[in-house]
């Protein structure tokens, strides 16, 4: 199957501000993709371009093999929920479903009704009187009942309390399991994403810093703690993403083969949050060297101290 989202040198400029730059991505289908980065990194811009609400200033993008919002058929295949899960305050829950049915060719009325029942929402309730969690669930219901192949969610849980977050994610994952929908959801908190995402895109200062399957990323990044040394004295094949030093000790976050080649250091695995934060800090520094391909992976393991 072809990529759900393919971008080449995508850029977006608001006047003099570059919101997105040189964004090149190829996201395979069947994933729940976490788009993570600090506020103002360009996450919303990328999602708005992907759903066709914004036109890029430069570069190319295809979503499900077509230009975003290039045709009514393409529009029907992509669902989008904007930041803070907006709903029409003056309309009732039932009105929202009616509106969804009238505007979406593949609308699944039974699914929408069942979900609203499961959530315990009163169809006559005005959306403006729902809690934040209920509003998010209503917006998700409409997006899911549209039966999209790709669901784009911009910070869907940012304004929700922890319980509502968990509930929202449970329902989202349930519909992914049921319909095989691909999802791209953004957040500035890794903790929101780490259980649900199996693909990660890190966006910092309008640029993509890292993209790939979560498990691969975790498997190829390590923290090396060793006696103080320069990054240049590390074995070839390791790309240094982050480095800190004390008088005696150096700590490196590296990308490369797993086994530590010498005895006076310890290599540990990273959790997703550490990994993402390292790339965010790294992005604030001068441009990195291109990642070297490891020439050899047969380092002899030594006992870590």
């Amino acid at each position: 199957m072809s990529a759900i989202l393919q971008a080449h040198a995508l850029g977006k400029r608001y006047g003099r501000r570059q919101a997105l730059a040189e964004c090149t991505l190829e996201i395979p289908p069947g994933h729940v993709v976490g788009l993570v980065g600090p506020n103002g990194a360009g996450k919303s811009t990328l999602l708005k371009i992907a759903c066709g609400m914004l036109a890029p200033s430069s570069g190319r993008i295809e979503v499900l093999g077509e230009a975003p919002a290039g045709s009514p058929a393409q529009l029907a295949r992509v669902g989008y929920v904007a930041q803070d899960t907006p709903v029409y305050a003056g309309l009732s829950v039932a009105d929202h479903l009616k509106f969804g049915a009238a505007t979406n060719p593949r609308w699944d009325a039974a699914l929408a009704r069942t979900r609203i029942e499961q959530l315990g929402l009163d169809p006559k309730q005005k959306a403006g009187r729902l809690s934040g969690g209920q509003r998010a669930q209503l917006a998700l219901t409409i997006a899911v009942a549209k039966r999209p192949e790709l669901l784009l969610l911009d910070e869907p849980v940012a304004s929700l309390d922890p319980l509502a977050r968990r509930t929202f994610m449970r329902h989202l994952m349930e519909s992914v399991a049921e319909n095989g929908t691909s999802v791209i959801l953004s957040s500035h908190l890794v903790s929101d994403l780490e259980r649900v995402c199996d693909y990660l895109v890190v966006l910092v200062s309008s640029r993509v810093q890292l993209a790939g399957e979560t498990e691969d990323l975790l498997g190829t990044h390590h923290r090396i703690v060793c006696t103080r040394r320069e990054a240049s004295s590390l074995p070839a094949g390791l790309t240094v993403v982050g480095a800190t030093h004390t008088e005696r000790q150096s700590t490196f976050i590296v990308r490369g083969p797993a086994e530590p080649p010498v005895g006076d250091w310890a290599a540990e695995s990273l959790d997703l949050e550490d990994l993402v934060l390292t790339y965010m800090e790294h992005a604030a520094e001068p441009a990195p060297a291109a990642a070297a391909t490891p020439s050899s992976t047969d380092h002899t393991p030594e006992n870590a101290r």
Binding site: E174, V176, V196, P301, A304
Partner: protein, 136 residues
């Protein structure tokens, strides 16, 4: 849809990949006798709806259980436990436990503290698990 036979949970701080945590929980339940041959594991949809994790994680865990010979998928029906690892099996391994006790005594005598013992066990365990994986 009856009550699920097992409930999964995830520990984000454990450093163990989520799918292996699920595999471990099934093993644990088997060892404790909470799961037995013929039990139907919850569907992927049921698990993700309860735990809010990626469906691929659950599928991967179930494939691993099949690979380990602990479960089998019946297409369109579900995934079923195919082997019991009841308490009887732990009791049968009394001699192994004896050896482990003796080893622990030696380790303490050699000056290893509890965290040291744990670290050595973890690293050796992981190492031999990787080797076992390479051999199969």
């Amino acid at each position: 849809m009856g009550e699920p036979v097992i409930e999964f949970h995830l520990d984000a701080r454990s450093g163990i990949s989520p799918y292996l945590q699920l595999v471990g929980q099934v093993r644990q339940a088997l060892l404790l006798g909470l799961l037995a041959e013929g039990d139907k594991l919850p569907t992927v949809k049921e698990v993700v709806a309860a735990v809010a994790i990626n469906p691929n994680t659950v599928s991967k865990a179930y494939r691993e259980l099949e690979h380990l010979g602990l479960a089998a998928a019946k297409p369109g029906v579900g995934t079923f436990i195919t082997r019991s690892l009841g308490q009887a099996s732990l009791a049968e391994h009394g001699p192994l436990q004896q050896e482990l006790r003796a080893w622990l005594v030696k380790a303490r005598a050699a000056g290893l503290t509890e965290p040291g013992i744990e670290a050595m066990f973890q690293s050796t365990f992981r190492e031999s698990a990787t080797h076992a994986e390479e051999e199969t």
